[in-house]
Structure formats: C-alpha cells, structure tokens
C-alpha cells in the first residue's frame, strides 16, 4: 500500500511535474512526520496545561481573595489583548535570554528551557487566559438555586466545585472551549518564528530544498485542516457522550 502510494506520487512528479516529495522521499517524509509529531506534542501538552490554568484561574477568581482576583484579571486581560507572536518572542528572547544556561553533558551549554518548552509555556498561558473567561461564563450559567441547594446540604467550596458546579459548567462551556482549543492548534504555527521544528518549519525546510512550494503549501493546509478536524471530532464525541438528556444549554 505504502509503496503503491509512493510509486503513484513518483510518477506524478515525472509526468505532471507535481512534486509531492513527502509521499515518496523517505527523508522528506521523516522530516514531515517529525514536524507533525512535534506539532501534536505541543498541541496536547498546551491544551492540557491551558485547561489546568483555566481551572486554577477561575478558582482563584471566584475565591474571596481580592489580591488573587486582581492577579487573575490582569493575567487574562494581558494575554487576551496582546499579540501571541510578541508574547512568544518576549518569552523566548527576553525571558529565555536571561535564564542561566546549563551544561548539556556533552561539554556544551544549552538553554534551561528549549524553544519547544517556551512555545508550550507561551501557548498555554495564551490559551489559558481565554479558558479562564470561558469557564467563568460556564460557572455563571449554573443556576444559583443549584449552588444554594448544594451549599445548604453542607458542601464545602471544593466539593461544591467538583461535584456540582464544574460538571454542569463544563457542559455549558464546551462549545466555546472547542473554539478556543481549535484556535490553540492554529496558534502553534507561531513556534515557527522561534525555530521550533514543528510542522510549518519542517514544511518550509522541505520546500526550500525540493523547490516544491506550491505542493507543500497545499499538503500543509490540508494537514492542518485535518488536525483541526480530528480535534473537533473528538470534542464533538465527548460533548455527545457527556450530554444529559433534558438538560440543554
């Protein structure tokens, strides 16, 4: 099967001049797949970290502490209203430049946090800021009577969140969350700017060596649309699985 595909694209290159090198050239393919893997890795870690950040943020914002609330507000507004690319540059060049370098065991020096690491940190913080707002909207949509009923049953704040508020709020905010996570997947392309070997970077390497900008560009677009489609599909399934009959948003 794989050899058939390779043969097909090789012939396409010879007869039509359409050079889809990723499908028949082993080196280009491995580079592309490595890029795909890096992108997926950044996506998954950032999604999980941003969800955790969103939950933590909304927890602090809802607590009595005035200072904590101010910090969360500042964090959300800052990351929502500044360009993600500049945030990434800020983290990678400015903050990363100040951190000490560590010995890498081969006699050389390597930065404490790699480019991939900074990309994950920056994207998590960026998407996390949006998640705080999304979770807040979801929590506010939980009927106050439900919360009061749980309070009168003697739930502590943590129990209230875990057993009552979050399960309901989560279902309410899933569509918005979905949008944000799709956005996060698209944002990972920015890591190109700091030289992280993700999908866009791998593709640009391939097209600058194989001179097939047009073909690679289309492969790249389709790959990203597929990546997003996978995420949307998974989230859609999840949404359906979590639906409570009779409880619509």
């Amino acid at each position: 099967m794989l050899t058939m595909i390779a043969a097909f694209f090789e012939r396409l290159n010879e007869t039509q001049g359409l050079n889809f090198s990723v499908f028949y050239d082993a080196f280009d393919r491995s580079r592309f797949l490595t890029g795909l893997w890096t992108t997926s890795y950044i996506c998954v870690v950032s999604i999980l970290a941003s969800l955790a950040l969103g939950l933590a943020g909304v927890w602090v914002a809802g607590s009595g502490s005035r200072f904590g609330r101010l910090v969360v507000r500042g964090y959300v507004q800052f990351f929502r209203n500044t360009p993600p690319l500049v945030q990434l540059s800020f983290f990678y060049f400015a903050v990363g430049g100040l951190l000490p370098r560590v010995s890498d065991g081969f006699g050389g020096q390597s930065p404490l946090v790699s480019g991939t690491g900074w990309a994950i940190i920056a994207f998590s913080l960026f998407a996390g800021a949006f998640n705080v707002e999304i979770f807040r909207a979801g929590i506010e949509a939980v009927p106050s009577t439900t919360v009061e009923a749980a309070e009168s049953l003697g739930y502590t704040r943590l129990q209230l969140y875990i057993h009552v508020v979050l399960p309901l709020a989560f279902r309410i905010c899933l569509p918005a969350l979905n949008n944000n996570l799709v956005n996060l997947v698209k944002t990972t392309t920015l890591a190109y700017a700091i030289g992280v070997p993700e999908l866009l970077y791998a593709a640009s390497q391939i097209w600058s060596e194989s001179f097939n900008v047009r073909e690679m560009m289309n492969v790249l677009l389709v790959t990203y649309v597929l990546l997003v489609a996978v995420l949307v599909f998974v989230m859609g399934r999840w949404e359906k699985a979590m639906r409570i009959p009779g409880y619509s948003t």
């Binding site: 209203n81 100040l98 807040r136 560009m217």
Partner: protein, 284 residues
Amino acid sequence: MRTGSTDLAVLLPYRAPAPIAPSGMAAPVLLGGGTLAAFAILFGASLALAQVTARPAGESAVTVLLRWAPLIFQGFLFNILISFLSMALGTIVGLLVGIAQVSLASALRKSAWGLTQFFRNAPWLVLLFYAMFLLPFEFRIFGLTIAFPAWVKAIIGLALPVAANVSEIVRGGIRSIPAGQWESAEALAFTRRQTMWMIILPQAFKRMIPPWMNLYAILTMATTLISVVGIQDGLTITRAALVAESRPELMIPMYLLLLLMFFAYCYPIARATLALERRFNVKA
C-alpha cells in the same frame, strides 16, 4: 396619569438592574486601569533592572529606549494600517460569502460553506505564507501591469481568514433573526432579495457588530505575523533595535514596550465589544 408621580411598583418605569457577576470577574471599569498600572509597574521595574545591570560604559537604558521608541511606534502604526486594509478587504469578501451561505441555491450555499470552513480552520500563518509565496509579484491584465508588492500580498493573506470569519458572523447574524420575520415579510409580498436587504440585514447588522469588532482585535494582533515573512513591522523593528544595541538587559523593556502599545490599542476595543454585547444583549 403620569407614571412618575406614583409609588405603585407596577406603574413605575422598568429599570434593568445592573448585571451581577457572581465570580466578581466581569463588569468593573477599573479593571483596565489596574492592568495598565500593573503593566507600567512591570515595565518600570524591568527598565530599572536594565539600568542597574547595564555595563558602566554604555548609555543609560532610558536614553536608548527613548531613541528607539518613535521608530517602534512607527512600525506599530504600520501594523494598524495593515489591519485596517485587511479588515476592509476581508469584510467585503466575507459579507458576500456569508450571504451566499444562506442562499437558496444549494450549490452556491454548499461551496460557500466549504470555503468558509476551510479558511476558518487553517492557521493564519500558513495562509499568510500561502499568499506570500503563491501570488505573483505582478499581475498582467490587458497589457496593464499591476504590481503586487509584499505588503499587498500580506494584506490579501490576512484577509483570507478574516473573510471566512466574517462570513460565519454574517451567517450567524442572519440565522439569529427569528423565522417569523421571514414569514411576515413573505406574507407582505416582499421578494426574497427585498426581505434580505430591507428587513433581515438591517436587524442582523446590529448583532454582527460585537463579534466583528472582536475579530478586528484578533486581526490587529495577528498583523505581527507579517514580520515572519519579512515585512518591516513593529516586531521586526523591535528585534532590529535589539540587535543594533546588542544589550540583552534591554530585551524585556523593549518587548514590553511593544506589548504595551498593542494592549493600549486592543483593550479599549475589547471593552467596547463587551459593552455593545451587553447593550444588544446577544451572546458572543
């Protein structure tokens, strides 16, 4: 009887209560001021740190920053210009595609839907690359040569996702108008075109404004992407300035300065969007 001169609650004019924010996150107007102040403190602290850690021979950090600030600001203004032009182009195209998305002709509707979904789900940077590399640098039409400099291509590249998003906004806006409006217009013998232009769109327009403004803020922030494809914008100039000065301790204040410019521009837009949303009472 004047309604003002009664104390019967039913006869008093209704005043909507201020929205209550249980988690204490929404509403306050002071919020922006606070963030801006925190920002300024951070900026000042980083500047002071740069001043302290600077090598004794060099100029003071403030002097260097003041020298570059006007240039960075010019680059930032270029970002804003690009954002205006892409937004204009994207809105026009998106409006047409969006209306095509609710057209009765199924082929037109489906292709408009496909186009919208495709460009909405592709990363902005990839679309920008697409436009930069695949558009010709000049266009020949009837012996007339239209040049396509890089910045025009960048505008087109940014306008693609904008158009797709506007198309979704338009579709959503039109869909949000109750079906009764369509039906009553039909009963009054309006043609479909008349219904659309004279009844549906004027009502839907109001609801489209908040998400449209939100999109504009996103676009403004996305304009920094053009620095990746080699156009001189605010971020490029900031980077060039840092290279020229080669003083690592200045990095944090310089980048913060640029972030501050964007924040000062985008934050009011975000607030206005929120205010409009609340006024029109539509969910984002």
